[in-house]
Symmetry: C2
Subunit: 592 residues, 2 copies
C-alpha cells in the first residue's frame, strides 16, 4: 500500500520534512499549506524535489470554510479555490482536502452544502483536481463521517469524494462500521492518527495531542479493516498534530511514523513482517566507561567477580549468579561517565528476531564487530542502546561467550539475576520507545506513570515479557533538555535484600541513605515484624506492596549517572517501586 | 492577613522551598507529605528551620481515604492518623487536611462519615490538632463544599472544621455564595488556586494545570469575598499543582505567587497598595551591545540619527521622530549579542509607579546609576528588563534627557514612533510576565496565541494601554531551553510602510525576504489595487486584516537575536501579525 505523511507531522522547513519522509521510506506526502507558503521554492521546484526523492504529493490542504455559506461568500471562496487549483497543477497534486465548515456564517443546509461542493468540484475538475470532503469533529453543522458522506452522495459529482480521518471519527466515538456503506472509490483519502484517551476539548486534543498509530488509545485496526473492506486503494496517510513532534528532529520522527504504519498494516493483514521473537531472558548488560575502576569497585562490593575477558577487546565479563555485566573500556567510551550501552537478550531465534527489527526500521549493526568475533545479531533501539540477540538453549555456551576467555573458576551458584534495566529515553521519543519495545521485541507495556522529582515530573513506562525474566523500565525527564532525567540503572534480583545490602556494605559499598521520616510513615502504613523496620531504616531499604505481594529495594551510590538497585520481589509483584521514587530521587539529589 | 503557600507549589528540596517562601514574604507554609518524607531533617529540625525563617506550619497533608469506610478499615486509618498526629506535634503543625474519600471502599453514608470524622477529631484533639475536611471535586461520594460542610456540621466536634479550596469549588461550577452560610470559625483553612478554563478531566486539570490567582480564568475575587464575609480569619494559602512550577526555580516562583496573592487581597479590599499609574508612552528602548557597529548601521539605514550622547557613560541616543533608541556599550554589554535591556516608560507619576512596582515585589533599581546622573525611578521586570519611569508633561525636557548632550540639531518632525516592543520571557515565567505587566503597570492583556515555528510552537501574549501608545508583545519558546525562542524586536510605526521599506533598502539595509508562495496566497485571499501586491512582494511586506483594518509590516535582518519591524497599522487594528508569524519565523530560520 502507498503510505504518506502530512508535512505538519514533522518539524523543520518543507525541504527538511520531505527529506525525512523519503529517508524513512514513505511513498508520498500531504503538503500543509503553511509549509508551502513559508518555502522559498516555487511550486514547480517543490514538485521536482519530491520527484527526485521518490515522493508523490498525495494531498494539498489550503482551504477552510468553503461550503454552506451565503452566495457572495461562496463566490469569494470559489475565486480563492481557483487560485489554489492552479497552484496544485504547478505542484502536481491532484487531491485537495476540504474540511467541513466551522464558520459562523455557515448555515445548516445540506442541499446548499451539496450544491456548492458540486460547483467547487466542477472548478476542480477543470484543473484535473478532485475534492475530498471531510467532517471535522468540531464542524459547525457537519461533524460526522456519515453526514459528510451523505452530502457527497447527494452532490453526485465524479470529482467529489470523501476523506476519512481516524481522529475525527474516533474522538467522537462514532462507530466506524458504517464506513463499509461507502463505496471505496468514493473514499478519496484516508488520514490516520491515534491519540491518548483524554477527556478534554476535542479541538485542543486534536491540535496538540495526536500521535502515531499504536501510541494512543484508538482502535485503528478496526477502523482500517472497515475502510479496506470498501475496496479503498488510496494512500494510508498520517496526519498528526503533536507539540512534541513539532520540536523533535524530523528524521527519527519520520522513522517512528513509518514503523507505526507498518505495524498497523501488519495488524490488518495488509503486509507480512517476520513475526516477533519474544526474548526469554537478559544475557548481559554492557557498560561503557573510560575508567572502569569506580564501577568495578561497586560490582565487586555487590559480589560480582571478574569471570572472563574478551579475547580481542578491552571488555571484561563480571558475573554473579545469572547476572552478567560486561565492562567495556573500548574506544567508544567517553570521559563523561559510565553508561549502559548495550543489552544482550536471550532469544530462541536470534536471526529471526533481528529480521523483524530490521523490517521495522531498526538500524542493523554489523554481525561481527571485529575479525575473529563470533557473529552476533544486533540492532539499535531508538535511544541508541545496542540490542544483541543471543542464542539460548542450544548445546554448549552461547556464541557471545565463546569470545571470552575464563579468568576465574565458574562462579558459584547464586540466585542473583537482573531484575530489570532502567533506560533513559530522549525526551522527544518516549512514545516511540514504548512502541518499539512492544512491537519489535514483542514485550508487554504497562501504563506510563508520573514520578515526582524535586525538579519536575518524570515519566516511566515498563515493558516486560510474560514470565518477568525480561523487564525494562523506560524513563524520560520533565523537559527536552532535562538534566534531572532519571539516571540509568541495573536492578539485581536477590531472594534476600537485607543480606545482600549488608554484604554490599560490609564489602565497602555505599548505599543510598533514606530519610528517617520515610520509615516513620511506613510504620504508620504497615505493620512489620519486630525489628524489621529498624533493619530497613539502617540499610535504606524501601518497601512497597501491590495485590501480588511486596517489593523491597535499595540503591547503591551513583557512578556517573549509573547506579545499581537490589531488589527482593515477591513473585506476584508487578511494580518497580514507583511509590518510592520521589523519596529515592530526592535522596539522589541530596547526594550530589 | 496571614499568607501561606503549599510546598508542592515550589520546586526543590523541602529546605529550598522553605527558604524561597520566606524570602518572598510568606508567613507560613502547608507541608505536603512527600516533601517531609524525602527530607533528611527530623520533624523537630524542620520546625526549628521554619521558626528561624519566620514561617509557621499552617497545614499538614498526610492522609487520604479516611472516612465512610468499613470499621476495620477505619481502625487502620485511625492507627495511621495517630502516628501522624504525633508527627504533627513534633512538627508544630496544628491543622491536618483530610480530603473526601475517593476509595472504592467508601460508602455513600453521611452519618457514617460524620461519625468516623468525629472519632478522628477526638484523636486529633488529644494531640492538640484540628481536622479540616475538604471536598475533592472528584470525591467518590462527597464532592461539593456544601456536602462536606453538612457532614462537618452533623459531626459537631470542636476539633473538626472544613477546608475550602477554590479549585475544587470553581472547577465544578459550584456557586461560592453558599460559603456565607458557613460560620467563619468552622472554616479551618482556605486554599487558593486559579486555573485556565480547560474542558478536560478534572483530576488531570487539578494536578497539572493549576496556577496562581489572576493567571487563570476563575473568579477568585468573588470567592474570597464570600469567605471573608463569614468572618474567616485564617491563612490565605496557595495550593498549586503545576508542571511548569515544578521545574522552575523556587525563588522567582515564590515571588510570583506572593504577588498574585497581594493582588487578590487588593482586589477584595483586604490590603491597600499604591494604585497603578498606567504608562502613557514609550520614552525609549535601550539596547546593550558590546559592538555598536552592526546595530547602529541598521538604525542609520532606518533613518535614525545619533541625536545625543550621555554625559558620563558610553550611551548614545539614536532618534527618528518620536522613536528613541539608546545604544549602550557599557560594561554590562556581553560579547554574545545585542539585546533589548531596558525600556523607558512615560509616566504621569514616576515615583508613584515605582512605589506600586515595589509593593508588588519588583526589585527596585538605584535611582542614580552614577554620580551626576539625573535621578530616575526604575524597577526590574520578571525577565530582567529594566523599566524606567520617565516623567512626562512637565515643562522642559524629561529628566533622563538632561543627562544627554545634543550631537545634532533637533531631529526633523516625523511620524515614526515605537509601535511595540517584543520581549522574550524565560520559559517558566510566561504567566508571571503577563500578570506583572497587567498588575504592576496597569496594562490590558490580550489572549495568548500559539505561533507555529518550524521547530516548535511558540506562545505570545500582548499587553497594551488603552490608546495603544504602549504595546509590548511577551513571547516564549516551545520548551524550557528552546533556542528557537522568538528573538526580541522593536517595531517602528510608520504611516507608509512601503516608503519606509524602500528608504531602508536604498540606505543599504537588508529586509527579510518573504517567499513568493506567500504572495500567491495573498492574491487568492484578498483583492489588491493594481501593482500593490507586486510592491509588497518586492519588499517583503506582509499583510493582515482584522475587523479594525489592515496591518502591513516587514522585517529587517537580524543583529544577534534582535531585529526591527516596520509597521503600518490602521488605527483600529489590534493585532501584531500573528497570522504571518509562521512565514516570518521560517524565513528567519532560512537566513541563519
Amino acid at each position: 500500500m502507498h503510505t504518506s505523511i502530512a508535512t505538519v507531522s514533522l518539524s523543520g522547513s518543507l525541504t527538511e520534512k520531505l527529506s525525512a519522509a523519503a529517508r524513512a521510506g514513505f511513498g508520498g506526502v500531504e503538503i500543509f499549506e503553511n509549509d508551502l507558503l513559508a518555502c522559498p521554492l516555487a511550486p514547480e521546484e517543490i514538485r521536482a524535489r519530491c520527484a527526485d526523492l521518490g515522493l508523490t504529493i498525495d494531498l494539498y490542504q489550503p482551504m477552510r470554510d468553503i461550503e454552506a455559506v451565503p452566495a457572495e461568500e461562496f463566490a469569494r471562496n470559489l475565486r480563492r479555490a481557483r487560485h489554489k487549483f492552479d497552484l496544485m497543477t504547478r505542484l502536481g497534486a491532484d487531491t485537495v482536502l476540504v474540511c467541513s465548515s466551522v464558520s459562523p456564517q455557515a448555515v445548516d443546509d445540506d442541499a446548499l452544502a451539496a450544491e456548492q461542493l458540486r460547483e467547487l468540484a466542477d472548478a476542480a475538475q477543470e484543473s484535473g483536481v478532485r475534492v475530498a470532503y471531510e467532517a471535522l469533529a468540531w464542524g459547525r453543522h457537519v461533524n460526522t463521517y456519515e453526514h459528510a458522506w451523505r452530502i457527497v452522495e447527494d452532490a453526485g459529482h465524479p470529482a467529489l469524494g470523501t476523506c476519512l480521518d481516524s481522529f475525527h471519527i474516533l474522538s467522537r466515538g462514532s462507530d466506524p462500521k458504517g464506513i463499509e456503506d461507502i463505496p471505496g472509490e468514493k473514499i478519496f483519502f484516508l488520514q490516520l492518527a491515534d491519540a491518548p484517551l483524554l477527556a478534554m476539548d476535542v479541538l485542543q486534543w486534536s491540535r496538540h495531542y495526536r500521535c502515531f498509530p499504536g501510541q494512543g488509545g484508538f482502535d485503528l485496526q478496526s477502523l482500517l479493516t472497515h475502510v479496506l473492506r470498501t475496496g479503498y486503494a488510496g494512500p494510508l496517510s498520517l496526519e498528526v498534530f503533536n507539540d512534541v513532534f513539532r520540536q523533535a528532529e524530523a528524521g527519527p520522527t519520520a522513522v517512528d511514523a513509518r514503523r507505526s504504519l507498518l505495524l498497523l498494516q501488519e495488524a490488518v493483514g495488509a503486509t507480512r513482517l517476520p513475526p516477533p521473537v519474544v526474548p526469554t531472558g537478559i544475557a548481559f548488560a554492557e557498560l561503557l566507561t573510560a575508567d572502569a575502576e569506580p564501577v568495578t569497585a561497586v560490582l565487586a562490593a555487590l559480589g560480582f567477580t571478574r569471570a572472563a575477558r574478551h579475547r580481542g577487546k578491552p571488555v571484561d565479563l563480571w558475573q554473579r549468579g545469572e547476572a552478567r555485566i560486561l565492562v567495556n573500556t573500548g574506544p567508544a567510551a567517553r570521559r563523561d561517565g559510565t553508561r549502559l550501552a548495550a543489552v544482550g537478550l536471550e532469544s530462541a531465534a536470534p536471526a529471526a528476531a533481528a529480521r523483524r527489527a530490521e523490517a521495522l526500521l531498526a538500524p542493523v549493526l554489523p554481525r561481527r564487530r571485529a575479525p575473529g568475533d563470533a557473529p552476533l545479531e544486533a540492532v539499535a533501539a531508538p535511544d541508541g542502546t545496542e540490542l544483541f540477540f543471543c542464542a539460548r538453549g542450544r548445546p554448549g555456551p552461547p556464541h557471545w561467550r565463546a569470545d571470552f576467555e575464563d579468568l576465574a573458576a565458574a562462579p558459584a551458584p547464586d540466585p542473583t539475576r537482573i531484575d530489570h534495566l532502567a533506560l533513559t529515553q530522549p525526551w522527544h521519543h518516549f512514545d516511540e520507545a514504548a512502541l518499539f519495545h512492544r512491537s519489535v521485541l514483542g514485550l508487554d507495556a504497562q501504563d506510563s506513570v508520573d514520578l515526582a522529582d524535586p525538579y519536575g515530573l518524570l515519566r516511566s513506562r515498563a515493558v516486560s515479557n510474560a514470565d518477568g525474566s525480561v523487564r525494562i523500565a523506560l524513563g524520560v525527564g520533565a523537559a527536552p533538555t532535562d538534566d534531572t532525567a532519571p539516571a540509568q540503572h541495573i536492578a539485581l534480583a536477590t531472594d534476600d535484600v537485607v543480606a545482600a545490602a549488608r554484604a554490599f556494605r560490609a564489602a565497602g559499598g555505599r548505599l543510598l541513605p533514606v530519610p528517617a521520616n520515610y520509615y516513620d510513615d511506613l510504620a504508620a502504613r504497615y505493620e512489620f515484624a519486630e525489628g524489621e523496620l529498624e533493619t530497613y531504616r539502617d540499610l535504606g531499604i524501601l518497601y512497597d506492596r501491590d495485590a501480588g505481594g511486596a517489593f523491597r529495594h535499595c540503591y547503591t551510590q551513583t557512578v556517573g549517572r549509573l547506579f545499581f538497585e537490589l531488589v527482593q520481589r515477591d513473585p506476584g509483584h508487578r511494580g518497580y517501586g514507583a511509590a518510592n521514587a520521589p523519596v529515592r530521587l530526592a535522596a539522589q539529589h541530596q547526594q550530589r
